[in-house]
């Protein structure tokens, strides 16, 4: 099919707009760094506190040379992914339990509310004592933060299923298991998928918080170590790397979400 000139013009306009947006975005980032660099060099901002891009890149370069930057990145990524997967799997399982046993849900309701409103970082020191000063503590911390959110999101999805559809299955004398597999899970598919996005953010918060409390490796460790020795370039490097990691992870989850939802509907 050949395109009409209007269609062609429309598509060209859209393409141009997209390009323009990208260009401006890059421009913002570049000028931000240049401005930062210049202000630091000319004493407009305190270089000791805010560091400057050239020092940051220098620090990152040295970290790579010292050959342990990737170790730190790998540790943090590993913790995030383990917490993320555990959060989804456990969250899904607990949500099913709560849904299938309403009495259990009623009994646990106040405790879940308490756990949900509790600032989880407060139990961090306790976790360290129980799990030890290691990677397990970090993952537990992250799991504590993402799990409750996953459970609540997925459980709410289950509860919002159209009651007519449940009645329909009841009229066919469906068993609990059949209801779960033919209706509850497929109907909450998109809820479960969208809980992934929330879960990845929560996992990152939890992991960095955990690394702040106890760690020998990881980006959170770099940041906290940098603060302790007043190496603000190291702190800024950590933050910069973290921004990049979280941006990439988020984009990956969104891409996964698109893919999973496209196949389904």
């Amino acid at each position: 099919m050949s395109m009409s000139p209007e269609q062609k013009a429309f598509l060209a306009k859209r393409k141009k707009e997209k390009l323009l947006i990208r260009l401006i975005q890059i421009l913002i980032v570049v000028s931000f760094f240049i401005l930062w660099e210049l202000s630091a060099q000319h004493g407009l901002i305190n270089e000791f506190v805010f560091s400057k891009p050239s020092s940051i890149f220098q620090t990152i370069y040295q970290l790579i040379l010292a050959n342990n930057l990737f170790n730190h990145i790998f540790t943090t990524l590993y913790e995030i992914i383990i917490a993320f997967v555990l959060g989804i799997v456990l969250g899904f399982g607990i949500a099913i339990l709560l849904y299938e046993f309403p009495l259990l849900a009623k009994i646990l309701d106040p405790f879940l509310t308490m756990l949900n409103s509790l600032p989880k970082v407060a139990i961090g020191p306790l976790i360290i004592i129980i799990a030890g000063a290691n990677i397990k503590s970090v993952i537990t911390m992250a799991l504590l933060i993402n799990l409750i959110v996953s459970v609540m999101t997925i459980y709410n999805g289950f509860q919002n299923i159209d009651s007519h559809k449940i009645k329909l299955l009841n009229s066919f004398n469906a068993t609990k298991m059949q209801k779960l597999t033919t209706l509850i899970i497929p109907a909450s598919y998109s809820t479960i998928i969208s809980s992934l996005k929330l879960n990845i953010s929560m996992s990152q918060i939890g992991v960095i918080m955990g690394e702040f409390l106890v760690s020998k490796e990881g980006i959170g460790y770099l940041i906290i170590y940098g603060t302790q020795v007043f190496n603000l370039s190291l702190v800024m490097s950590g933050i910069l790397i973290l921004i990049i990691i979280s941006f990439i992870l988020y984009k990956l989850v969104v891409a996964l979400e698109h893919k999973l939802l496209k196949n389904k509907s």
Partner: protein, 250 residues
């Protein structure tokens, strides 16, 4: 005519924290093979409760329900089409059979044939979102017919549709039901719908629902539901039932 079902002295009370609410009271009704019974009552009178009890989705407080056929099978068609958006039309129509683990080749062929016969042959692999409201309602009916019920319960099956489609779809559904020789119990609050479709109309009182009157519908020229609305005896029934319902327009 053979009797399929006998309801004797059926009552149901709902238990709430504030006390007991009688929903239906001493209902007696016999259901014969091939009948189309419409149960008419004002909203909230307890007619849905009666249907839920017959469909075995709710229990009753006292009374007896005698089934005059072994393993009498009951099919329930809900107010909403309740189609699963992630399943194709064919899979939706096969849902009941799948749940009952009766996905045999002959049953699948039967459902495909029903879909074909009732104008859905080109939509087997389509999804519910691609169908009109009337078509969805037809799929819902076929999903119920698929399990080969002896009695079909219809819970205000057209009330979710706009007036135009409502007439057209009730015409369609009526034809399908007659062609498949099904016994039907339909509840509705629409008097005209009841007269145009049913062979017998049971009028229920306000809550708790008791049987107020029963009419054998004998139109002068019985035809399809839309034409039945033009029948000269239509208004006579309408006026009588309207009086029975005793609606207070305050």
């Amino acid at each position: 005519m053979t009797k399929l079902l006998e309801i004797k002295n059926l009552s149901k009370n709902y238990q709430t924290l504030k006390g007991e609410i009688p929903a239906i009271l001493n209902i007696d009704l016999d259901v014969y093979d091939g009948e189309f019974i419409a149960i008419v009552g004002s909203s909230g009178c307890g007619k849905s409760t009666l249907l839920n009890i017959l469909a075995n989705l709710d229990n009753y407080t006292s009374g007896v329900i005698n089934y005059h056929k072994k393993n009498l099978k009951i099919g329930y068609m809900l107010q909403e089409d309740a189609l699963f958006p992630w399943l194709t039309i064919l899979d939706n129509a096969l849902l009941g059979l799948k749940i009952e683990k009766k996905l045999t080749e002959s049953n699948i062929a039967y459902v495909k044939n029903l879909l074909q016969t009732y104008g859905l042959g080109d939509f087997l692999d389509k999804y519910p979102s691609e169908l009109s409201g009337g078509m969805k309602q037809r799929v819902a009916l076929i999903r119920t017919l698929a399990i080969k019920p002896d009695i079909l319960l219809l819970d205000e099956p057209f009330s979710a549709l706009d007036y135009q489609s409502r007439l057209a779809v009730s015409n369609d559904v009526y034809k399908i039901i007659k062609k498949e020789h099904k016994t039907v119990i339909m509840i509705t609050h629409d008097i005209a719908e009841a007269i145009s479709l049913a062979s017998r109309i049971v009028v229920l009182s306000k809550r708790p629902a008791k049987i107020k009157s029963i009419y054998e519908v004998k139109l002068a020229n019985p035809s399809d539901p839309i034409s039945n609305r033009q029948d000269k005896k239509f208004t006579t029934y309408y006026d009588q039932i309207w009086r029975d319902l005793d609606v207070n327009v305050a």
